[in-house]
């Protein structure tokens, strides 16, 4: 029989992150993933096809509009890489980021009934919101490899770096989400703003175009600012690891990663600070 003493008192100001406690509750993440997996395709006709179709259809649409109808000026990031392939490669981290951010942003507001009735580390909610998008990304990864082989392009050794850029996209979503989630539980406006902001961010990130084409069109200082967008680093990083053609501006990527790290740590503490009062305001 464990005789650990739990002390409950009012905590003021900034709190430690209690990552050890979070680790003890890891079963919950697994159980939530199983729940989401088992329930997400219930009463749907297409079932798991829903993981396969959206990235393919989006790629087809972007290819049709930007690659075919609008023609040149939208060069793929790597010479010799078809537009569709390059776009699907960009959509992998982008859809992961967008899915996670939407999920995390609503994770507290959507779990109101759990939140107000039972205690477990609140950080579980944003973390579990990342699992299904991550699984989606894994499916896209397989599709992408398949499409590459179909086009007759073999992945190189740089592919080993791909997980790092997927991690960067995940970290960026979590970093922003940890700021958004407590705020959108209190101010429901944010829940509505996130999809809109994501729409804008899609155009500010090199998804339908390559960062290289910007570098020709924009002055240097503007390009520097552009690379501060962590998703630009993640997406171009993905292209680099898959196709290894254009060299990456490593300085900018390190800057983007540093920014994400700072936002992530700040967001985690912010979340811990806000989570204590969330039950009373949600």
């Amino acid at each position: 029989m464990s005789r650990d003493v739990t002390v409950i008192r009012s905590g003021r100001g900034w709190q430690p992150l209690e990552l050890a406690e979070l680790w003890r509750y890891r079963t919950l993440l697994w159980v939530f993933l199983l729940r989401d997996l088992k329930t997400s395709y219930k009463q749907t006709v297409l079932g798991p096809l829903w993981a396969v179709l959206p990235p393919l259809l989006t790629t087809a649409l972007f290819t049709l509009v930007f690659g075919v109808l609008l023609g040149r000026g939208n060069e793929p990031s790597a010479p010799g890489v078809p537009y569709a392939l390059s776009t699907l490669c960009a959509l992998l981290p982008w859809r992961l980021f967008a899915g996670c951010l939407t999920g995390i942003g609503n994770s507290l507001a959507n779990n109101q009934s759990l939140l107000t009735k039972i205690y477990f580390p609140r950080m579980i909610f944003p973390l579990s919101a990342m699992l299904m998008p991550l699984l989606d990304a894994a499916v896209t990864f397989v599709l992408l490899i398949g499409l590459m082989l179909w086009y007759g392009i073999a992945p190189g050794v740089t592919l080993l770096a791909a997980p790092a850029f997927i991690g960067l996209a995940l970290a960026a979503a979590l970093a922003l989400g940890l700021w958004f989630a407590p705020l959108s539980a209190t101010y429901r406006d944010l829940g509505m703003a996130v999809p809109y902001l994501l729409n804008i961010a899609l155009y500010l990130s090199p998804v339908i175009y390559a960062a290289a084409s910007l570098q020709r069109a924009l002055p240097d200082w503007a390009v520097t600012i552009y690379w501060l967008n962590p998703m630009a680093c993640a997406i171009e990083g993905m292209r680099w690891s898959f196709f290894n053609s254009a060299p990456l501006p490593w300085g900018s990527v390190a800057g983007g990663a540093g920014l994400v790290f700072a936002l992530l740590v700040g967001g985690a503490f912010f979340f811990r600070r806000m989570e204590r009062s969330i039950v009373d305001v949600i």
């Binding site: 739990t6 159980v31 009735k117 406006d189 009373d280």
Partner: protein
Amino acid sequence: MMSSDWALRVEQLSKRYRIGERNYHRSLREQLLQGLRRLWPWQAKRRAPPSGDSTGPLLPQHDGNSECSAESEAEFSAEVEPQHAVRARLGRGGEFWALRDVSFDIPRGEMVGFIGRNGAGKSTLLKILTRITEPTAGRAEIRGRVGSLLEVGTGFHPELTGRENVFLNGAILGMRREEIRAKFDEIVDFAGVAHFIDTPVKRYSSGMAVRLAFAVAAHLDAEILLVDEVLAVGDAEFERKCLRKMNTVARDGRTVLLVSHNLTAVQRLCRRVIWLDQGQITADGPCLPVVRRYIEACKQREHLSPLIKPGSPYRAIDCRVNGAPLGRTVALLGNEPLHVAVVCESAEPTRRPRLDLAFYRSDGLKVFACATDRTLDADDGRRSRRWEFDLCFERLDLAPAEYYFDLGVRSDFHGEYDILWNRVCELTAATAVPAIAADAVLLPPVRASARAA
């Protein structure tokens, strides 16, 4: 108490809510507008609505979200209390102390009951001890793992099967996978749903779902168990099963804190009872004397004037039971009609509000609840300044006992009553039909005969 073998130690625990802190759907725009008003006070005078803009929901609630089910909606689940009591607890600047300087020690293996009226702070106390919300001041120390049976079925997913939900619910309650697996058969057996364990829970009857949920929670290996009003979850047989289970839990040397309005259950299970009133401990001691004092206090208290929600547009004009104004004990034969008539008015025309009635036996057993509309949406769009409600029961067929009921008028879904009469009417039912079981609730009309054939 110098006992070194304590399981739980609470020192001067206090919880403060700010009025308006639990505003629903607080939007950024409202906040910005409020900030602007503060900057330009002359604007505020002109624009502030007559009801005042800072009077949000006053008290913490159990189930104020939109997910509340049709059943719970008819209940008086909002924690409310007479206005004078609220005022007494209002500090400066619209503060409200749900708990104030509560201290007690509970030795290991003791089963303690918490009693008190709605809004006395019992649920707030449990919410703090389960770490759902934080205290404003004071501290609590808990030795050992805490399990809670607060809201049965929290986290149940209707699309998942019973088996999957056991694992989901167990994990939410803090059990490890192996632990759940080891106890799985016991849980299913206890709930009595073995045949349906691989059926989605949405196909369960509500009783089955609740039994399964209770079974999971009851098999949690916790040294300290916090239980809030869960005994009334099933039929009589299941309730007996629960009580037996709770008794074994206590015998195992585990500590149990039981919050209940069901004084019978408290008396049956607990040797020690703590009576909370207005956020403070009124009495703490052996069960029987405390429960007796509590019942006496409940009888003496007369709530003839209703509690009006701050900022509510409504005021009560009239409230009659069987034609007589409130405030008298009504004697009723079991098969006589009961007629409740309420009139309320507001300054501006409003959409149709609803009158709810919850009927209890004097020991807290809920007999039934009903309302003038099935949902608050059942509204024909008419607006009026004056609303008159009638609830007519042609016959109640109650077994002889003492009863009372709560009445509430509300106009929104959030479970807060605009006007609320607590324990408005004490009824004594008597009957001409000979009753056999003294503890029965109903005496339905029966044509009985026994002939020699």
